[in-house]
């Protein structure tokens, strides 16, 4: 089963996506399953890429943006031409992501603050209730 190759159905169950989605990603050149006759067979590489795709989506990247990110992760598959340029892009992406994390941290702190405030309000409501008894 885990002979490094998975059918489309196995992929769907493993990663909780539909066949349509996998075919769509292939059409958009995000995945490159090999063919056994007609059937698609997904490799270890495809699975790694799919994980990154799903992760990217959770952070609001478009599929096109994700495709470019994926290329960064797989430079090794090709020649090293334009390595310098690739590095620039990768560093920019890294900066993006760190900025994003900063923003997320801020959002988390905001929400925590909000919760603390809410607790205060509830506490004062209890007091009022007590006083009214």
């Amino acid at each position: 089963m885990t002979e490094d190759l998975m059918t489309i159905r196995e992929m769907c169950e493993t990663y909780d996506v539909t066949p349509r989605t996998l075919r769509f990603y292939e059409a958009k050149e995000l995945l490159f399953p090999i063919r056994e006759g007609q059937k698609r067979l997904f490799t270890k590489r495809d699975r790694a890429r799919l994980k990154l795709i799903l992760r990217g989506k959770r952070f609001g990247f478009s599929l096109e943006e994700i495709r470019q990110l994926l290329d960064l992760y797989h430079v090794g598959d090709q020649q090293m031409t334009q390595m310098t340029r690739t590095f620039e892009i990768a560093r920019e992406r890294l900066a993006d992501m760190e900025a994003r994390r900063e923003e997320l941290t801020q959002a988390i702190d905001d929400l925590k603050e909000q919760l603390r405030w809410g607790e205060k309000v509830i506490a004062s409501m209890k007091n009022e209730k007590k006083a009214a008894e």
Copy 2:
């Protein structure tokens, strides 16, 4: 100018959105500008909400999800009924966001690792070149 009320155009320039977007958000009940005759006037509250909307979008939330989040931030505007339930939701959201940050941290580390690997490859390429001279 900063009399707590802004026209649609001022909003657009301040937050870099189109009028269409602001009207759309109003239609979706994400914003509640007041009316002066026909014209919309956006309050401090609308601006706070818009900031949260834009932030939410950067993290891949749908407008509907954002609308629910916004309600969490403005419980104070209404009665405190169902406060407990609201708190549950808020805590879940907080957990979501913290998990998300964890994932983002992982992605950042992955990319950093990738960069280190790339540097190694480049270094070895230089050596080969030297050896070839």
